[in-house]
Amino acid sequence: MIPLSWYLILAAALMGIGLYGVITRKNLVGALIGLELMLNSVNINLLAFWRYLHYAQPEMDGLVFVALAFVVAAAETAVGLALIISAYRSRKTVDVNEMNLLKG
């Protein structure tokens, strides 16, 4: 039987990898890819906790959370990519480092 800790460590690793991508990528699309990985690690955690601790009827919380996380992830990606394309069109670049209009 697979221990719960394995899932959690896998999710933590995936989260770390995703976060690394978000922080270090110069390309906005690359940052978005990292974000997807982070979201997936959250889903792994949710399902793992559901399976190990809260599976009994009628507790559907874990599953419902995952379902909603899917929706949010899909929405976030769609809007994110639309923003990237829009930014690209106006600035001809997707380099994060050049998008510093908010510099104080």
């Binding site: 922080i23 270090t24 998008m99 510093n100 209009l101 510099k103 104080g104």
Partner: protein, 726 residues
């Protein structure tokens, strides 16, 4: 008869059609004159047809008074019960509906001609003032002709609304519905008196009418509330057709002056009548209301709205007379009605004798005739009062419309002869019978009906019935009414003589012309009614003719009452009525037939001098009210409230507070604000700026650096939490 067109459904239908016309005209159709009056006329016509069917059905239902046609819908949930709103058809409704529907339709038709439909638009005409006439070229030379009313559509919208209210008042089956119609009519009256709001006199008259009638309305509302509180209903049937309720009301003592509740409520409701039907002392608004267009004067202030007050007391006659039988002493409200009605009849008739404005004479005549009806109800002559209400509506509407026609003819003459003069002043007229034959003959019919010319006019029969009723109950009332009838005949003769007979006394009168067919046709129709409608009520005790008559009217309306009113068999009232009518007419003609000049002093003025002028000034009542109520109110407002209370006390207090505040503010500013608050604020602002210019270096604008910062923060938080909660 299909169920859709049943009597009950038609009753609902009658008021709603004019209302629909009002809404459509005011929302959509106001740009088109012809569309507006088509809608209004169509609605009035439909209501008229429906009314006639309803009246016809009502006449053929046996026992209508005991089993009226009723249709109700739940309207207002009130606590644990529901207020039912409905329509009702009983003999009183039948009679009222008949004359209301006919006069309203006639007046609608007349209005088209009166407002010069089809005439050119005057260049100088502005909304809010009567049309000043337009110049047109005809046969090579410029001619001045009457121009169309600038607010034509508005007029028809308003009279449609008025028709809705009047029909509602007539067909409704409860006092609240009546009150709603009553108040809407008050509003319409206000708007229509002030229809030419560009004139200050019209504005003042409108406000006066509204406020004076309001006094009565408020008191009436009190009666309505008392009635609802005591009986829990405002439905006519539940109150008036229930002997238990009536005897409960007439035997329970009210907290006021030893009156029974029936007496108190009767008096309160009668106050509404005093206001609406212009009885003394609240009659002052009606003559001034002649500022409105003549169809309005005819419809609202002669035929229908002022009749509503009489209708109200007739409707509530069982309550007012609760506990009374012929032969017993009159109840308090009846006594009040008899006194006020008889006094008003005499008083207003005497003023009418002295007036020179053709419409004002008719206005005072209306007040006088309404006094007749009220007095008749007061002495228990119920059928006679309703009969007079019925006939009066026809001949008074006729007289007003004919007067409007005369004024129109005079205006035309004034345009033609380029003469500036008062086209409503009877002294400027004379000899118009040849110029305006139709108007003359119809006016004559109306005038004779008003005077009670024997046998051939409607007014004779109804007035005779009232005199008979008064004679059997009270000698004082009878004498007052007989004198009033004499005066009525006198001023009618005076009016006819001054306007139509003799020779023209001005150039305008010389060039007067007959009005258009839209104006004269209603006159003819109403003229026929003014003559013939009285024959339905010939009493059976009348010599010769009585044998042929069934006295249908008295039987029909009398069925509304729980007791029989015995008709006097005395010949005194009949003889009196003959004498006063014929004598008054003859006297009037004799006195005024020789008036030659517009400038001449009135014959009676020459004879009576200052007494005449006192009456001509309406017994100085307007001045008295001005002195008693308006001046003191203005004085209190000006001197007491404004100058003394406001300026001295309140302003003093306010100024004191203001000065104190000023001083306090000065102290605060110099000792606290400038050194402490300002210094602190400046310090904070400077510090913020400095720290801001330092911190802004952290804002790189790079999202990833922010995120890394957040990550570092998270890591630190994690370490702290972990080391603390391990």
């Amino acid at each position: 008869m299909s169920t859709f067109l049943s009597t009950a459904n038609l009753l609902w239908f009658i008021p709603l059609v004019p209302f629909a016309a009002f809404v459509i005209i005011s929302v959509a159709a106001f740009r088109s004159r012809s569309l507006s009056h088509s809608l209004a006329l169509g609605a009035a016509g439909l209501s008229f047809i429906a009314s006639m069917i309803v009246v016809w059905n009502g006449l053929h239902l046996p026992g209508l008074a005991q089993n009226p046609v009723i249709s109700q819908i739940p309207w207002l949930p009130a606590g644990n019960s529901t207020f039912m709103f409905g329509v009702q058809l009983d003999p009183l409704t039948v009679v009222t509906l008949a004359f209301v529907a006919i006069t309203i339709l006639m007046i609608f038709i007349y209005s088209v001609g009166y407002h010069n439909f089809g005439a050119p638009v005057g260049k100088e005409d502005i909304p809010g003032l009567p049309p000043k006439g337009a110049e047109v070229k005809r046969d090579g030379h410029v001619e001045k002709v009457p121009s169309v009313e600038p607010m034509y559509a508005r007029f028809f919208a308003l009279i449609s609304l008025f028709a809705f209210a009047m029909f509602l008042l007539v067909v409704t089956d409860n006092l609240l519905g009546l009150y709603i119609g009553w108040e809407i009519m008050g509003l319409c009256s206000y708007l229509l008196i002030g229809f030419w709001y560009g004139r200050e006199s019209a504005r003042k008259a409108a406000i006066k009418a509204f406020i004076v009638t309001r006094i009565g309305d408020v008191i009436m509302l009190l009666g309505l509330a008392a009635l609802y509180a005591l009986t829990g209903t405002l439905n006519y049937q539940q109150i008036l057709a229930s002997p238990q309720t009536l005897s409960m009301l007439s035997t329970t003592a009210s907290p006021v002056a030893g009156l029974s509740w029936a007496g108190l409520i009767g008096l309160l409701l009668f106050a509404g009548t005093i206001g609406k039907s212009a009885q003394f002392p609240l009659h002052v608004w009606l003559p001034d209301a002649m500022e409105g267009p003549t169809p309005v004067s005819a419809m609202i202030h002669a035929a229908t709205m002022v009749s509503a007050g009489v209708y109200l007391v007739a409707r509530f006659f069982p309550l007012i007379s609760a506990g009374w039988q012929p032969g017993l002493p009159l109840t308090t409200p009846m006594l009040a009605m008899a006194a006020i009605g008889a006094f008003t009849a005499l008083f207003a008739a005497s003023i009418a004798v002295t007036q020179n404005d053709i419409k004002r004479v008719l206005a005072y005549s209306t007040i006088s005739q309404l006094g007749y009806m009220v007095a008749a109800l007061g002495v228990g002559a119920y059928s006679a009062a309703v009969f007079h209400l019925f006939t009066h509506a026809f001949f008074k509407a006729l007289l007003f419309l004919a007067a409007g026609s005369v004024i129109h003819g005079m205006e035309h003459g004034a345009f033609h002869s380029k003469q500036e003069l008062d086209t409503q002043d009877m002294r400027n007229m004379g000899g118009l019978r040849k110029k305006m034959p139709l108007t003359f003959w119809t006016f004559l019919a109306g005038g004779l009906a008003l005077s009670g010319f024997p046998l051939i006019t409607a007014g004779f029969w109804s007035k005779d019935a009232i005199l008979a009723g008064a004679f059997s109950e009270s000698a004082v009332v009878f004498i007052a009414l007989a004198l009033a009838a004499l005066l009525t005949a006198f001023y009618s003769a005076r009016q006819i003589t001054l306007v139509f007979l003799g020779k023209p006394r001005s150039k305008a009168a010389e060039h007067g012309i007959e009005s258009k067919a839209t104006m004269t046709a209603p006159l003819v129709v109403l003229g026929l009614f003014a003559i013939g409608i009285g024959w339905i009520g010939i009493p059976q005790t009348f010599p010769v003719l009585g044998k042929l008559s069934t006295d249908w009217f008295a039987t029909f309306t009398g069925s509304m009452l729980s007791f029989e009113v015995s008709e006097g068999v005395s010949s005194v009232p009949l003889v009196t009525s003959l004498i006063v009518a014929l004598g008054g007419l003859l006297l009037g003609w004799l006195v005024y037939r020789k008036v030659r000049s517009a400038k001449a002093e009135d014959v009676l003025e020459a004879a009576f001098g200052s007494a005449y002028r006192f009456v001509q000034k309406k017994y100085m009542l307007d001045e008295l009210y001005d002195l008693l109520f308006i001046r003191p109110a203005a004085w209190i407002a000006d001197v007491f409230v404004s100058k003394w209370m406001d300026l001295v006390i309140i302003d003093g207090i306010i100024n004191g507070i203001g000065k104190l505040g000023l001083w306090f503010g000065y102290v605060l500013r110099n000792w606290f604000d400038l050194p402490v608050v300002n210094g602190a604020a400046d310090g904070i602002a400077g510090g913020t700026r400095k720290s801001g210019s330092f911190i802004r270096k952290l804002e790189t604008g790079r999202v990833q650096q922010y995120m890394a910062g957040a990550l570092a923060g998270l890591a630190i938080l994690f370490i702290i939490l972990y080391s603390v909660f391990k």
